[in-house]
Symmetry: none
Subunit: 112 residues, 2 copies
Amino acid sequence: MAAMSNQLDTTFQALADPTRRSILTMLLEDDMAVTDVAAPFEMSLAAISKHLGILTRAGLISQERRGRVKWCKLEPDAMRDASIWMQSFGQFEAVNLDAFERFLETELSDDD
Amino acid sequence: MAAMSNQLDTTFQALADPTRRSILTMLLEDDMAVTDVAAPFEMSLAAISKHLGILTRAGLISQERRGRVKWCKLEPDAMRDASIWMQSFGQFEAVNLDAFERFLETELSDDD
DNA sequence: GTTATATTCAACCAAATGGTTGACGATTGT
DNA sequence: ACAATCGTCAACCATTTGGTTGAATATAAC
């Protein structure tokens, strides 16, 4: 159906893919060109380009073209609404870095 | 292909549908029977039953059968991991970015 | 001007998703 | 015993998703 997708749909859908979450994690470190984003993955550049399109449409990253290189930049503010929505279901402890590291670890070792 | 869906995949995927998010919001107020969950929606009971199955498999709700009625109960702790994962992206600007980046570099170079 | 690099586009494909309907098993009420 | 209620199951269907390949575009380098 037409799926009048609201912001939360788009955000959660974008985050529901391990490749896209890995990309976001990579972009925590630094802005990156599309080709460099694609390098660690065992899929085509076109596939990564699509993933980046989805992340861009969700507002989770922005892309700026300079010359023939398109730079990808993390836009973490786009997660805020979804994050707030989730927190309304119970106050989780304030950010626990240890926990994040554990999950990041499973993320990185898992998607291959 | 691999579809090694981890916990975050399952959680975010479950949350990426407005019907399922509405159900979770309804269950904030009280436990509900499947039929009562379905009542406000303009779709079949079978469709709602499927949504509840997805939420259950994601751990976001639990279902307990008493007589012929199956009660649905919110399990907000299942959102905790995803919530932490998201919050982390927003917090690092404010908090200890350097420490996290060092951690990240270690993890990324350790890639298997 | 030719060649290499960076990225997207278009067409295709298999599998997953979100819905339908009708039949079914299990439980409750009369 | 019989009928009504609760919920799931199985089979189907259309659309979306996540991937592929090969051609196309735009910029950079030689």
